[in-house]
């Protein structure tokens, strides 16, 4: 069963709110850098940066992180890993890095992302922003900024469609019982 739980406007509002929360928590955007996790997180990081820039009226560094080489499931997944680009445009040493992802689930991707990030330098803080938190954490990881908490069962699937990614309209769909 498919159910739309977030439409384009919901997403827009959530991103805007998270932007304000980031500013509030960090008392501005000094020393701030956004890093999106391939692939949905990169798009969201871009949107967040746009918001932050229009609110604070200054440029924000945005990077993209591919975590493929840091995953812990290389041998257990059916499909083969496909490597995407990693681009970290600035030094992250002593910066506050906000990792951005579309869905937070078990936490393993975030663990991999933190390992990957640390290979690029030593940030002062790493914070985490996610559009959807669907629960079922397997690691002690907690987001700092959440677009929406959605209770799910373990076998449900969350589909995040973003214009830049699939060309369709923005929306989040909950598909029940689809994960194998």
């Amino acid at each position: 069963m498919r159910k739309e739980i977030f439409d384009a406007n919901d997403i827009k509002r959530a991103v805007k709110r998270m932007a304000y929360e980031i500013i509030e928590k960090n008392k501005g955007v000094d020393n701030l850098c956004l890093v999106g996790i391939q692939k949905g997180g990169v798009i969201l990081a871009g949107r967040l940066a746009e918001q932050l820039q229009s609110i604070e009226d200054r440029l924000i560094d945005v990077g993209a992180l591919d975590i493929t080489f840091y995953r812990d499931d290389l041998n257990t997944k059916e499909e083969q890993p496909v490597v995407k680009r990693t681009e970290i445009p600035c030094s992250i040493n002593n910066k506050t890095v906000v990792l951005v992802d579309d869905v937070l689930f078990t936490g393993r991707s975030i663990r991999a992302a933190m390992d990957a990030l640390i290979d690029f330098g030593r940030p002062a803080y790493i914070q985490l922003a996610v559009l959807i938190d669907r629960g079922h954490r397997e690691l002690p990881i907690r987001p700092d900024y959440v677009g929406k908490n959605i209770p799910t069962s373990f076998n449900d699937l969350i589909e995040v469609s973003l214009e830049e990614k699939n060309g369709g309209r923005d929306r989040v769909v909950l598909v029940t019982g689809e994960r194998g």
């Binding site: 083969q80 890993p81 490597v83």
Partner: protein, 306 residues
């Protein structure tokens, strides 16, 4: 996408698999540009380098590739003498199994040895050169290098020059380039043309002057100096006169043609020094790319369910 647990040759790969390796290698090339050039995916895995033929370059490249992926590496350099002493291939295979290696990188003077070892279950075998059969990672790094200069393969013309008969590099390059739609020429003395190689869709030339005309890529092969005096050609001097790559001959190729060589070079035998060190030479780039390609191969094979 990647089906086999082993990389035995380019023959066995689809063009889709080749592209997948090249794309993955691009990711690793980025990693190699960082300060921390190491990533963790092969942590806890063991790579056994098993070299029955001396080869510092390929062995070092595989060793570094494995280490960059956080694998443990054991090197067996097996001198020909211990083979003569009677250590059989079967014993070698049993030893590897007992050591619990996850990967075996094998170089052997006899074609088919990697295929022999690939019968061991649960171990990925990577062919690092077997006799005159194949040297797949060399061809992959050649492709990677060509791609980074030319951006494509279809419609390109590559000339492979030298001792094609005894060359595993030539064979792997021929399979790789023809699979991806490039035109391949071989230029060599008729004494060094393998039987019926034309069936692989290559054009055969016995003259540099004809064969190099308008090519995009020149791939020089290493001439094994021991071939001298076996009747393949009268002398090294005559060989260089006929088949050496000189600046003069390089002019016959396209203006943006690149010059490649798998190394180590015999300067003044197959390639003139000014060409080897010249602006069209991408020989050192090949070495760097070799590392990225070998990381990609190890990484992708690790992801194949065994």
């Amino acid at each position: 996408m990647f089906r086999s647990k082993d990389l035995l040759g380019i023959k066995e790969l689809t063009s889709e698999e080749i592209y997948h390796i090249l794309d993955t290698a691009a990711g690793f090339k980025d990693v190699l540009r960082r300060d921390i050039k190491k990533v963790p995916p092969l942590r806890g895995k063991t790579v056994a380098n098993l070299f029955f033929e001396p080869s510092t370059r390929t062995r070092t490249s595989f060793e570094l590739a494995a280490k960059r992926l956080s694998a443990d590496v054991v090197n067996f350099s097996v001198p020909a003498s211990s083979v003569i002493k009677g250590e059989t291939l079967k014993d070698t295979a049993l030893t590897i199994q007992a050591l619990g290696a996850d990967f075996v990188v094998i170089r052997h003077s006899s074609a088919g040895v990697p295929h022999f070892l690939s019968r061991i279950e649960n171990i990925s075998v990577i062919n690092a050169g077997d006799g005159a059969n194949e040297h797949p990672t060399q061809a992959l790094l050649d492709l990677f290098t060509i791609q980074s200069h030319k951006g494509k393969f279809r419609g390109l013309t590559a000339a492979i020059v030298g001792d094609v008969t005894h060359s595993r590099v030539a064979r792997s390059d021929i399979y790789a380039l023809t699979k991806l739609g490039a035109n391949v020429r071989i230029i060599c003395p008729p004494t060094l043309v393998p039987a019926e190689i034309g069936k692989l869709g290559v054009e055969i030339f016995d003259s540099m002057e004809k064969g190099l005309r308008k090519v995009d890529v020149i791939m020089m092969l290493r001439l094994q100096l021991e071939r001298q005096g076996k009747g393949f050609f009268p002398s090294l001097e005559e060989y260089f006169n006929l088949y050496g790559l000189t600046a003069e001959r390089l002019k016959l190729a396209k203006d943006d043609a690149i010059v490649m060589h798998p190394g180590p070079m015999n300067r003044g035998v197959e390639i003139a020094t000014d060409v080897a060190d010249g602006p069209r030479s991408v020989i050192l780039e090949q070495v760097t790319n070799g590392l990225a390609v070998r990381m990609a191969v190890l990484y992708l094979l690790a992801g194949v369910k065994k």
